[in-house]
Point group: C2
Chain length 379, copies 2
């Protein structure tokens, strides 16, 4: 592969905020960046050497885009994998590898992979038809997930009792035993081409159950050391089993009886790692670049307490975005604003995030609550 | 002025590395960025919404560029100030103000300003002709500086004795008593439109005398607290006397008898503040944006020991740049590489910088020396 600085052409499938923050970091390495996204107003449109408008799930579009780069990566996993496999055959480096993306795209395959590799996960059953769902012996309540294309809480349905079955998904899905969890935790791990593996310290997530989105994330976690260790060991094992090159975000449940169960994987930078930009020695974006460039992985240590707050479009507002209260937030020391360059807001759209850094954990939490109350995206 | 996120058009005069790092930060605020630079291969060319190729010292070019933005700033002070004054009259916000740039462009006016405002500086004399130089009563040795257009050590000449006079500059200049200094120190200060002033902690610089460039910079400084205080007080006073809006870099000498003398000003982000990207709560680039957007200034505290090493083109190499040893450097924890996107190297050209962060000052220095030995820009 060409040297990663100067003459390397990096292609990114997807031009959203993850790509945007990846480019912000890639600027430090003189990489030529090309981006493919269906939205001509995507957050990356003005920050790359070439911006191509096109469908990420179309074979020819992805293939033709990939032929013009040396190294192809993703910021979203809903991409045409057949095209990626063909590109790999023709010598384009695709990281994460096409086979990894194919596996992770399908929640059924993901779950089977967990089972085959002794990775702890909630009991599940793959469901191919409504008839099969009706015959399941899994006790209520359980969660039904579409095998493909779920995103940010879409494609997930809780089957509380028999009366819920009529509204269940008809498409291929899996059902999963309801986990009465204490916490959602996450570990982002990176593996480079040489096989080095490095994990970021575990993060704890607070979900907003109304919208099924992470709203608040804190690191380092104050959970017992053994939980950190177990979570990290599991995440590293998955990266090693997959032989992935690049970042892997591993979302896990910590159950009320102290068990860790893997929920889902994402083979890319992840919302649960944004606080690493200011909170860790290297950020997840820097680490992803190092991994796919086959460079030494960076130090993932936490520099301080860090909280990440998603900035979501306010309910009842749709149109050109207005950021209310931003001046008040900038007055707080250790508060970092990241807007994603989206012109239009809509309810619960991810418009940006704010990271809060504070040597005192309680202060950090107080500031995070202030940020959540104060910053509103309206139209 | 329009809100600084979303709909504000920011123009930057100059598209070099300072503009590049300013844009890297401005991405967080959704600002529309236009850049003017004479070099169509300038480091900012691919990172802005619009890149205009044109001369920064040409009235019409600067005027026409400025008419298309809401707020105009600079990353280099060699720009056409007449155009900026006209733009100000016509309602374009220019920060730093045209009058400040005009004063700082001319080292003679700068020195007179120091004198008028009781700012400590080395004794000097403004020289308009070779005849005037011959008649000076200033004792040898002294330094002759061109009044205009000096940059990175060019336009400076040491007059050791009478025999040096024949090679002295013929253009308008100033001569300055030779200062036998202990250290070069610097303070970067910011002032916003509302008049708030905030200084970054003082940095100590190590110069490479062969090329007259900063090669090594360390912060926080271990010099006595009173020196920090005096340097900061002087820098803040200058910002307040000038009523500048934006960043002001104040370069100072600490003489062997403990006196602080102001050497030069730069009304913009500065090489002596690059370590603030990783080393301080807010970086100089973030602070400049906050100042010119009239936002609350950020916390300038040092997070840790930080050293900045300039990455210069190797002597004897001219052509497409090759970065040797970069993989070895990425192995060190707390080492951050910033390349400036310049395709061609030449001797002593600033091609990038590396920041070293370490809780142990001696370790940081050791790593910095390793970086200097290891990273070479050849062709």
């Amino acid at each position: 592969m060409k040297t990663f600085y100067g003459d390397l052409k990096l292609g990114i499938l997807g031009g959203g905020q993850l790509g945007r923050m990846l480019i912000q970091q890639a600027i430090n390495y003189n990489v030529t960046v090309k981006v493919l996204d269906p939205d001509r107003e995507a957050p990356c449109r003005k920050l790359c050497d070439e911006f191509v408008v096109g469908a990420l799930n179309d074979y020819n579009t992805v293939y033709n885009f990939g032929k013009k780069v040396d190294l192809l990566t993703i910021e979203i996993e809903k991409v045409n994998v057949d095209a990626l496999e063909q590109l790999e055959k023709e010598g384009v480096v695709v990281y994460p590898q096409a086979r990894v993306i194919r596996l992770i795209q399908d929640k059924g395959l993901q779950k089977q992979f967990f089972k085959q590799n002794d990775i702890p996960t909630a009991p599940f059953q793959v469901i191919s038809s409504p008839a099969e769902l009706e015959q399941t012996t899994m006790p209520f309540p359980y969660i039904q997930k579409l095998r493909r294309d779920g995103y940010d809480g879409r494609g997930v349905y809780k089957v509380v009792d028999e009366s819920y079955l009529k509204d269940a998904f008809k498409e291929p899905s899996l059902i999963e035993q309801w986990v009465d969890f204490e916490k959602e935790i996450g570990v982002i791990v990176a593996r480079n081409e040489s096989g080095d593996i490095s994990a970021f310290p575990m993060v704890e997530m607070e979900f907003n159950p109304d919208v099924n989105l992470v709203e608040f994330l804190i690191t380092p976690s104050t959970l017992p050391f053994e939980i950190h260790q177990q979570a990290e060991t599991i995440a590293k094992k998955i990266a090693d089993d997959l032989k992935i090159v690049g970042l892997l975000a591993v979302e896990m449940f910590l159950t009320k009886d102290g068990q860790i169960l893997v929920n889902e994987l994402a083979p890319r930078p992840h919302n649960s790692g944004h606080q690493s930009i200011e909170g860790n020695v290297v950020s997840q974006f820097e680490q992803h670049l190092r991994a796919i460039f086959d460079q030494p992985l960076g130090d993932t240590a936490c520099l301080n307490n860090a909280i990440m707050v998603n900035v979501l479009g306010e309910e009842g507002h749709e149109g050109p975005a207005v950021y209310q209260g931003i001046e008040k937030i900038l007055k707080c020391p250790g508060v970092y604003v990241h807007l994603y360059g989206k012109a239009l807001t809509k309810p619960f759209r991810k418009m940006g995030h704010v990271t809060i850094i504070d040597a005192d954990r309680e202060n950090a939490i107080e500031k995070a609550r202030f940020v959540q109350k104060t910053l509103r995206v309206i139209s």
